[in-house]
């Protein structure tokens, strides 16, 4: 514990240092011009927001496109292309007032008709957008009132709609360009964004240039943003040091050790950690045995997982939600590390001679580390795990198809509790690969997604999360620590808890 505290203090001191620098930076007026070079292990398959699935695609989408609303650094919802909105008394109709004078990069106007077209595309089964599965249960139709006003008619009151309109669903595509360009739109996208995508050489780089007609006066500051492909974050650190790139992220606390005290490099820790958990098929033997699941939960030392894999800079997880988000419940009861109790539970589960199983191990450093520690900790109570390596690219498909039963997983947080809790734990959630089904949880999640009142939702989500943790469709492990590393001249960077960096407002001093 002492070591952990010292670690934290050092981090805090580092943070304070970073703040001083950026505060000094803010005092200066942003300088126009310059190129920002971002290093990224880019998995992008398309830059058409309507079909975007990959995490890293959004690094570029937030530059070429704007969303209807945007997230603050605390996940609060702020105006963007929509200036304001009114919700009807029954909560089922929301009228957005759009920003005037906004143009797409192809010169066509952004207006209510464009918004309707964008949402209709996502809802149209013929278009087959992957976003349909989250949007269709919420939005019934969209009406154009006049060019500046557009109404969303909802199936039921839906507070989660706003968070959706700040990510993939909310990226506004130029209808004209999308129809003209067809399949080519994915590599030549047109939005209203501050940067225009000029070149995309797959496996090499993406080049974006300043949109001179951007609606927000004075923005952007940079002339160009280049997203350079990297074969891994460690290589990114080296290239940052040589000055070939200005920015790299997804760095673990160990990755940043060599650059912690380097002059000219600024580290930005993420504000809310990625959630790591151990999942299984809760209705299939052997994990349909609650005592076995409880034995796992009590045998795992989450503190030690955090101390070793995150160098103590993450936090342990008792539930899906970390501290810092409004739906976090400090009173939730979880499973303290208790190997003796775990051993008893394992025997009560019927495994008096121990238990053997295969633990799927995606070839991702953090998962390999977590799994080796899980193997050690569970081994101590007689649970023998064989680590089975799986290529990172194949792994999720295996989890979905059910060929992988026991595996660690991680998810980034969403701006609304409905985002993660519904898709993972509702019996109809599309990412519920645990096949978890509890009618009480379904009812709580269904109710919570139709209430606008935050205190009421908070209570509902607390009850749902407690029930989920009691049922153990997965064992919560930790919330990770991660860093972005920037060269010191880059100013204005701030993390959003979804862990997708927004480069639009950055500028480069000297």
């Amino acid at each position: 514990m002492t070591m952990l505290r010292i670690g934290r203090r050092q981090t805090l001191a580092g943070l304070a240092g970073g703040m001083l620098v950026s505060r000094a930076g803010l005092a200066q007026t942003p300088i126009l011009g310059g190129t920002l070079t971002v290093g990224l292990s880019n998995e992008a398959k398309t830059y058409d927001p309507i079909f975007s699935v990959q995490f890293t695609e959004r690094y570029v989408l937030y530059l070429a496109f704007d969303t209807l609303v945007k997230y603050g650094p605390d996940f609060s919802i702020k105006p963007e292309l929509a200036e304001s909105w009114d919700t009807s008394a029954d909560g089922k109709r929301i009228v957005f007032t759009l920003r005037q004078g906004v143009q797409f990069q192809d010169g066509t106007p952004f207006d209510a008709a464009a918004v309707k077209w964008n949402i209709d595309q996502r809802l149209d089964p013929k278009v087959n957008s992957p976003q349909r599965q989250v949007l269709a249960p919420i939005v019934a139709s969209v009406d154009v009132i006049d060019p500046q006003h557009v109404a969303f008619n909802l199936v039921a009151p839906s507070p989660a709609l706003f968070s959706l309109l700040g990510e993939r669903v909310g990226f506004m595509v130029s209808p004209t360009a999308w129809q003209q360009r067809g399949d080519a739109f994915g590599s030549q996208p047109i939005g209203t964004g501050a940067f225009v995508l000029k070149e995309w050489t797959r496996g090499s780089r993406v080049v974006l240039e300043r949109n001179p007609h951007y609606w927000q006066a004075g923005l952007p500051y940079l002339d160009r943003i280049v997203v350079q492909d990297l074969a891994g974050s460690v290589i990114g650190v080296q290239r940052l040091l040589t000055g070939e790139i200005d920015y790299v992220d997804q760095l673990t606390p160990a990755d940043v050790l060599p650059i912690e005290k380097r002059a000219g490099i600024v580290l930005k820790p993420i504000t809310v950690g990625r959630w790591y958990f151990l999942q299984w098929h809760v209705n299939k033997a052997p994990f349909d045995n609650p005592k076995l699941r409880q034995a796992f939960a009590h045998a795992i030392d989450r503190n030690r997982l955090n101390e070793i894999t995150m160098r103590g800079q993450g936090t342990i997880s008792d539930s899906p939600t970390p501290k810092g988000l409004w739906w976090y419940d400090p009173d939730l009861k979880s499973y303290p590390h208790d190997p003796a109790l775990a051993k008893t539970l394992l025997a009560e589960a019927g495994f008096t001679n121990g238990f053997e199983y295969t633990l799927s191990t995606p070839q991702v450093t953090v998962f390999q580390q977590v799994n080796q520690l899980l193997q050690e900790q569970l081994g101590a109570i007689g649970i023998k795990l064989q680590l089975q390596p799986v290529a990172a690219s194949e792994w999720y498909a295996r989890v979905v198809s059910g060929t992988t039963n026991l595996t660690p997983t991680r998810w980034t947080q969403r701006a609304d509790p409905d985002g993660l809790l519904y898709i993972l734990f509702h019996s109809r959630g599309f990412a519920n690969t645990m096949k978890y089904r509890n009618e009480k949880v379904d009812a709580l999640l269904d109710q919570a997604r139709t209430v606008y009142d935050v205190p009421t939702r908070k209570k509902l989500y607390a009850a749902a999360q407690q029930q989920i943790v009691d049922d153990l469709p997965m064992v919560p492990l930790i919330f990770g620590a991660e860093y972005a590393a920037l060269r010191a001249p880059i100013q204005g960077f701030e993390w959003i808890p979804d862990e997708i960096p927004r480069f639009r407002d950055l500028w480069k001093s000297a």
């Binding site: 160990a254 990755d255 050790l257 070793i308 191990t361 450093t365 193997q375 680590l387 390596p389």
Partner: protein, 258 residues
């Protein structure tokens, strides 16, 4: 010192074999025990420092000899079991049997070993048994070719012809006259095959297709350490050096047999 190469090679191999066998006695710590002093460079407590999970690098390198030797010897043996009989039969019988077998050998020799091993390992999954079989399968063609050449040369010898003239069956001739003649070459090739297998399995491990963690395995350790070269370089360098030294030992030994 008539054969300094043999002495050196055999010496290195013997040392590594002893270390592998006596690993629990030689290793200063439990190679599997994690600790909260991660990625510490060399210290009095940990001579080669610790890895990303706080495990003692020296102890893991010592235990890693076991997996490497097991794979090396196992794969070389498997390759011999396939390659030697094919080479003997092809070389001793000639004729149509030889034409078919020689074509088969040429076909497999044309396939690059590492790539073939990689593809098969991806399909069958990586574990100790599979690695031994896959590498054995990849390594048999050069052995068969070598044995075939030697058998063909022996076949033309007068004593073999005499045996044939007196009515010796092909199998008897192979066992009695040709096998003893190819034995020295097989011994030399065995040592080189061990070296090749250790090297190739390290390459596979580096590509993430080695023995699954947490078993200490040199190739896998080089890979795991690669991310932390700037923090504790020993994590990669020590197992890397162990691979080089072992491979060199076997090669030198194999060459001096010839």
């Amino acid at each position: 010192m008539r054969r300094p190469g043999l002495c050196f090679g055999a010496g290195v191999v013997a040392c590594i074999a002893v270390i592998a066998a006596a690993a629990p006695l030689v290793a200063p710590r439990d190679p599997y025990a994690s600790g909260i002093d991660m990625l510490v460079p060399s210290s009095a407590l940990h001579l080669l420092g610790t890895d990303d999970l706080g495990r003692d690098v020296l102890s893991r390198v010592i235990y890693g000899a076991r997996a490497s030797l097991a794979i090396g010897f196992g794969a070389a043996l498997a390759a011999m079991v396939i390659g030697v009989p094919i080479g003997l039969v092809a070389g001793a019988l000639r004729g149509r049997v030889d034409t078919v077998l020689a074509a088969l050998i040429d076909l497999f020799i044309a396939l690059p070993g590492l790539v073939l091993a990689l593809i098969i390992t991806v399909m069958v999954g990586a574990n100790l048994r599979n690695l031994v079989l896959v590498l054995g399968f990849v390594m048999w063609p050069p052995i068969a070719r070598l044995v075939r050449g030697q058998a063909m040369a022996l076949r033309e010898m007068l004593f073999v012809e005499a045996a044939r003239a007196t009515g010796g069956t092909p199998l008897w001739i192979i066992r009695r006259h040709i096998w003893p003649g190819v034995l020295p070459i097989v011994a030399a090739q065995f040592a080189t095959s061990v070296a090749f297998a250790i090297f190739t399995s390290a390459s596979l491990s580096f590509l993430g297709l080695g023995i699954p963690p947490p078993t200490p395995d040199w190739g896998g350790m080089v890979r795991a350490g690669y991310d932390y070269l700037a923090i504790n370089p020993w994590m990669s360098l020590a197992p890397g050096a162990a691979v080089s030294l072992t491979v060199m030992g076997f090669y030198v030994m194999g060459r001096s047999f010839r």
